[in-house]
Symmetry: C2
Subunit: 163 residues, 2 copies
């Protein structure tokens, strides 16, 4: 049994015109999420300016490091990136010598993705630098407990209950 959530339902009154309340920006979930996300990404971009690393590249390196050998469609799918747009992203990582495509033996259409030796070093450095950024965000939230609360709420918001 879910709690009643009519916090924004317009109030009916007895005149002909319905009274409509224009929402305040600071109580709009989508808007506030967007501003917070931009703030965090801004800090991320500054943190990784020297390493010339964008959020999407960070994510791809992280997924390859955790599960090497996956194909492009799989990595792209997990991140919500269209496979057509993944190509240039992967080209960049390959050009920089951080990751590589290997011909898959079983299915010659697909590429299996791996980090290079340099990519492994880069990714470890990346994880350390990220840690400083993340700690800064946790500090702003007030601690790891608040971080966990936030992640739980974001989960409820954006995760399919049937999964």
């Amino acid at each position: 049994m879910t709690k009643k959530t009519s916090g924004n339902a317009p109030q009916e009154n007895d005149t002909e015109e319905t009274l409509v309340t224009i929402p305040a920006m600071r109580e709009i979930i989508g808007y506030r999420l967007r501003r917070a996300q931009l703030f965090v990404f801004h800090d991320f971009l500054q943190t990784f300016a020297k390493m010339k690393l964008r959020p999407a590249e960070f994510s791809v390196l992280t997924l390859i490091a955790q599960t090497p050998g996956q194909k492009q469609t799989e990595i792209a799918g997990q991140l919500g990136i269209k496979r057509a747009n993944f190509v240039a992203l992967m080209d960049g990582l390959e050009r920089r010598g951080l990751a590589e495509r290997r011909k898959a033996e079983t299915d010659k259409r697909s590429h299996s993705l791996h980090l290079t030796a340099e990519g492994v070093k880069f990714t470890q450095k990346m994880a350390k630098v990220w840690s400083a950024h993340e700690d800064r965000m946790i500090e702003r939230l007030g601690g790891v407990a608040e971080r966990d609360t936030l992640l739980k709420l974001l989960d409820k918001l954006a995760t399919d209950p049937e999964s």
Copy 2:
């Protein structure tokens, strides 16, 4: 006194190489914020597809409705939109007959922004439609209490403590 927040600090060990933990995507604040924001915006876009209204236009109409007469730089500034990019956005609202620029008497460089009569009706309809979208998001979060918790955390994350 703020709580210690070393939740992601790398563990030192006694070998030469420092052990580095690659983070899991689901514990990365920025990534999770981004995915949640995309989810909410996707629902927003579907909700307003028939009215042909984008989030930025929604925000501008909302601010003009709440405080008519502000100039372009002021509205743009509150939303984090560059004044150069605000021009086309405002052109669109004016072309649709929803809002208008009026020559300001006091400072002839600036325009004061107002809703048209049609814009007022549109904005009231907009507020009602938005309410359904917002209630859907609140429902997912589990109720208004959880929504308030989320907004408070987003505030801590993205708001300057000195203000």
